[in-house]
Each structure stands twice: as C-alpha cells, then as structure tokens.
Amino acid sequence: MALSLEDIKKISQLAKININPEQEEIVLKKLKNILNLVEKMQSIDTEGVEPMSHALDISQPLREDKAMPSLNKEKYLKLSAKSNEDYFIVPQVIE
C-alpha cells in the first residue's frame, strides 16, 4: 500500500486542505513514515476479534424527545465571519 503523490492530491481534496505543490513531496515523505510505523499491525492475526470502538461497553443513551433550552441564536451568529439576521453567509453556491 505505497502512498503516491496522486494519493496526496486525492486525500487533500477529501480533507479540504490545500497543499502547496512545493510541499507535496515533503508531506508525502512524512506521511509515508507514519504509514510505515502503523504497518506493523498487518502481521497480527485478528481473525474472529470483535472491533473495539469504545473503551467501555456502554450503549448510546436516549432521552425523551422534548424541547430543551438551547443556545442563544444571536450570540452564536455573532461568532461567524459573515452573518445576516438568521443566516451564515457563504459564497454563492447555486447560480
């Protein structure tokens, strides 16, 4: 599973992070080193082992579907770089 420059381009698009073309080789080298580190896992036999997604075997707690106090809209909209009344403003998406 050797990582290539093509992969770097693809995952940077998936992660929505621009990578400066001059940096791509360096990023590739460092990511390869990390993948080499984790490669050790592949030699372990995990046949029949249940994946562990959570430290404690607890299930998702549920609550009644009742309205609860929620966040103050004005206060939260103010945190945005651009907002207007009830909306966050982003560049136009639909022509």
């Binding site: 984790v38 959570h54 430290a55 770089a81 966050f88």
Partner: protein, 484 residues
Amino acid sequence: MFKLTLKQLSDKLQNSEISSQELSTYFLKRIQEKNAAINAFITIDEEKTIQQAKVADQLLSKGDSHVLTGIPIAQKDIFCASGWKTSCASKMLDNFISPYDAKVIENFNAIGAVNLGKTNMDEFAMGSSNETSYYGTVKNPWNLEYVPGGSSGGSAAAVAAGMAPAASATDTGGSIRQPASLCGLTGLKPTYGLVSRYGMIAFASSLDQAGPIAKTAEDCALLLNVMAGHDSRDSTSVDREKENYLEKIDLELKGKVIGLPVEFFNADLNHEIKEKLNAVIEVYKDLGVIFKEISLKNSDLSIPVYYVIAPAEASSNLSRYDGVRYGYRAENYHDLQDMYCKTREEGFGEEVKRRILIGTYVLSAGYYDAYYLKAQKIRRLIAEDFKNAFQECDLILAPSSPTSAFKIGDKTEDPVAMYMQDMYTISTNLAGLPAISNPAGFLNNMPIGFQLIGNYFEESKILNFSHQYQLRTNWHKEISPGAL
C-alpha cells in the same frame, strides 16, 4: 506561597489568613513576572479572575464554601469558558470567544474556584512537546532550553514554575502524564467517561479524557472530586455514584500486588530510568507491596493502533472547522470549496494537517478495513491484555516517558520520533484505563516520573498508592529554578 499545596492554601483561605483576592493577585503577579520567559499562558484576564475571587471571598465569609473555594486554577485552553478566548492553541480559533462553559469549567465555577487563565498547549492537543502551538513553544521551568512535554505543556509548566497552584489538563495518548513527568509533577488521567467532555474541544473522542495536574496525589484527589461526575450532554459520560477520592488515600499497602509488565522492563528501557524505577519499587517493597511480573504482550502495537484511530477520529472531528460558523475564515477565495480549502490550509498548523490527512487516508474507500478496522481489532487485544493482568495485580507500574525532557527543536523534524514519546502511556488510553504519573527523581537535572495504571474506575486506589509513595519520598517537593 507558590510552594504550598492546594490543601495548605485551602487551610489558609478557610482560616481567613488570606483572601481569595490576595491569593489570586499573588499568582497573577507571578504570571506577569514569568510568562514572557515560560509562555505557559495564552490568555490572562485579570478583571475576570479578580471578579471570581471576590465572589469566592463572599462564599468564604459566609462559611458557605467548598475545600477549593477561592483557589485559583489554571485551565487548559481546550476547555470552553464563557467570555474567555478559547483557542486550543490554533490560529483556527484565535478569534473565538467561547459563548458557554465546558462541564469541567462549570464544576469549578459551581464550588467557587477561580479561573486564573488559559494555558498553552500543542495545537488541538496534537503533540508531545508543546512545540505545535500557534502561540509558540512553552519552556520547561527546570531548564528553559528544554520542552515541558505535551500536549498539556502549558498546564504543567504553569504549576512547575509556581504560576498556578494546579491546572486542568487533558490526555488522549499521554498528554497529562508525559508533561507531568517531564516537569516533576503529579498528573492523573481518569477512566474514560469519568469526566465530562462537554465543552472540551474534541481531538479523538474515544480516547480524550480530562484530568488534573498538581504537585501531589492528594491535590489531584481534591481536583478530581470537583471534575468527575455524570453529564447527560456527553453521551459517553458514565452514570455512577460520585466518589470521594480522598477517602482511601491513607490505606495501608501491605500485601497489595503491583504488576511489572515484562514488555516495558526490557532491554529497550533506558537503563538510568530503569534504576529510578527500581528505587520506586524498593519504596513500595518497604511498605509491604508484593511485585509480580505480568505480560502486556500486544503493548508494542499501541503506537501503530493509536496513529490510525486518533487521526481517523481527528479528521472527522476537525471537519467542523470550515470557516462558516465560527473561527478563522481565509480572506481571499473565489467560491465555497476554495473558501473551505484555504481556510483549513491557513488555519491549521503542520502537525494538525498531517494528522487530518492520515486520518482521511485510513478512512477512505479501499483502506478502511486494512487500517481502521484492523486497528480497532488490535485495540481489543490490547484492552484484553490489561483485563488479564488485573486478575493478578492491583495496579501496574510503568515508566511515564522513555526519556527525560529533550531540547526544544530536537524532534520537530521527525514526527515518528516525537510519537515514540508516548510509548508507555498510549495503551491505557486505548483501553480506557486510569493512570497517574508521579515524580520519581532526576536524570541530568531534569525530572522523570513513573506511572501507576489501574483497572476501570480505580482512581482511589491509584491515588492511595501514589500518596503513600509521596509520604516517603521528596521528589514532588523539589522546586524548579524557573519558580525561583
């Protein structure tokens, strides 16, 4: 006064020998004197701190107080605190003033503790040296050319330099215990789910856990009494009866069993650290503790497993930083996609981007089974090793860190070398177990620590063993040159 423990400061407040305003002013002044050199704090707000101290003084004068009422505590900048800048040491949140309190902050406010300021850390808690902070490296108070460890390096340095009597911190792979070890302090990572993650900025949600950094185990118990507790706003918060973590601190240890993992005490362990650990073992033997070899046979897989699971969860958690609702937004962009991509390119630092990219890769189509699922399966094997070990012993003793503090800049070019710093701490996060780092002495004039790892929810036992050790040793009383 900076040498006093929380217990001693509390006695002074309760006996009206000093007011919270005086105490808070004293520590603010020490921060003012020392922060330029140590860089432990990102945000100080004297007005807010003194305001809280005034409220605490009223509670104290009415006799309506808790043991930590009026005590100023430094809060890691990962905890949202209403009206405070909460940056997680990232450019991405440099302009973020939190509109609400994290549960940990709520708990401290509820008993009248005072927020002394927000401490520096590795960006989004990703790092082991505090060198990834947008606000610059924190210096180790034992030697300003050395790192304090990370990611809670600011919290540890603040306490070690006597700028704060104690601090909150968080631990995803060792971020409480490793800086505590490198700064000569006591740092406790509780069982996963014991302290609410509500309002604690997420890194790897199945591993993140908050805990205290302080001078002594007794102080950690006092802080954990405030920090722990169920919270319905964190779906992984455990609903169990509240414990008093001081209650069992004085129990005798005669006949108790400590396990020594053969995989940690092998030829790879630095021989000087091994000597220090042997001295720790002798202290416990004198107290009647029995030692037994145990095996954590998959422990060498902890770092590989962690560097799949933690980046995978981080890539998902950090997708929220898109420049739309809060935080940084790039200035120049031509459409929505470009806005996302430039915001994230400019707002995140190198290490954070690296982990998001790795996480994106291991979760992407075609690689999920080989990396993420495989890691989750080995995570179970690692947790089962501990389960088996605890059938034979009360606690497990381990090194906290493979080295004492290293020089600033020594490992920044080699992420993998940096990751190895957490080789003895990561497995407990994967299993979700509680563990503490206690001071164990010095190597080349820099502190080192040892870990005690317990079974689920056995914080009381860990604190009991640590306190008994600290009653018979003086390492935790040593004062760093940076504090003088």
